[in-house]
Symmetry: C2
Subunit: 226 residues, 2 copies
């Protein structure tokens, strides 16, 4: 994948124009959402970044394949995409790559039955996953669900396993909300890693596997993507 | 300090007899409490390990100086020692070295005003410490006080400081209670370290400074201690 990092989408369009000569062979685009399409927080859950709604339209009419990548794990994709649509974006649920569905694929592939330490609103994403007699833990941005009791419950599952598997939906340190900075999933991942003397498997940005799965969903190769 | 590690106190007495020839010059003894004098948990808060009550008596009548070291941070020394006395031990509050009083000395020496993330029962140990406008965080085994809200509050203090200082009352991974394994302070220390990209200063076993402070309180040098 080309190493083009842009903070804002109108910046990306500018960069695409500048980089025109490098775009030969590019068939698809992977876009971040928070901080690129919109700023989260406030009433209505966020505000579009000026120019980004139009930019998404332009990319779509250009014929480039488009995929949105997010580390959002406080809501299902349905709910998250609904919010973006409400803000004016032309975006569908099946265009979004998010950690929870990626984790579900891994769980199924490896016959893993998770104990979930996640936000209540994310639980529906795991509806068709067997969670009886858990043999791994999945941790997401659980926010207020990160109680001592709940973290202990996850820890007790892990420490009781012969080969403890901890899957973390991201490794963020913290994020900003309207009422201040908040600890992100990475901090709690580290707590469990230390307590059990293990290394988590991270699903979500910046894990390579996560971007690869976005490309797979577009049906293109890394060298064809931006 | 001589490198003699014993799991149980009657084991120590046996070792002392075996090591008799090495004991010349030894003037003081530093003893662990949990798992050496007594096993915690259950009704009454624990049970004495067979022979340990008598062993403490013997050491005291031998003329050796004696100091007890503990990483207990769920209660004040008063309360903790009261429990041990109730179990039958000849032990006084001024004979115990614990992380909280050691942390208080550091806070005073360095003009640090802590935000406390500790167990409610430990708060009285910090009664004469200025906590207005905090410029550091002290984290102990806060148990149920380790809510998302409380951990965020500590994080927000740290991330807002130019030079974030995190003092951790121990670095334990977990401990056993009658109803199962519980996460210890070390796990939460790691969460805050990761979120703020800092290193905590650990007060308590196995920090060298902690043992040194026990020796200082006995008024003896490391080579005179066991």
């Amino acid at each position: 994948m080309c190493a083009l990092v842009v903070g804002r989408l109108h910046g990306l369009l500018w960069a695409m124009a500048e980089w025109g000569k490098h775009l030969a062979g590019v068939e698809g685009l992977v876009l971040d959402i928070s901080g690129v399409l919109y700023d989260s927080g406030g009433e209505g859950g966020g505000v579009p970044i000026p120019g980004s709604i139009e930019a998404v339209k332009k990319i779509k009419t250009s014929g480039l394949k488009l995929r949105f990548c997010t580390n959002e794990t406080q809501a299902t994709r349905d709910k998250f995409v609904g919010k973006l649509q409400h803000l004016g974006f032309d975006i569908g649920v099946d265009e979004v790559t998010a950690p929870a569905p990626a984790a579900c694929r891994i769980l199924k592939e490896r016959n893993l039955r998770p104990h979930l330490l996640i936000h209540d609103d994310l639980i529906p994403e795991f509806a068709d996953i067997d969670r009886a007699n858990p043999n791994c833990v999945v941790v997401g941005d659980a926010a207020d669900n990160f109680s001592y009791k709940n973290l202990n419950a996850a820890f007790q599952v892990l420490i009781g396993l012969e080969n403890p598997v901890l899957i973390s939906l991201g490794r963020g340190r913290y994020y900003k909300e309207t009422d201040g900075l908040k600890l992100d999933v990475g901090a709690y991942m580290k707590a469990l890693e230390y307590a059990c003397d293990i290394q988590a498997e991270v699903v979500g940005k910046p894990a390579k596997m996560f971007f690869q799965s976005a490309l797979k969903e577009m049906g293109i190769e890394p060298h064809q993507a931006l």
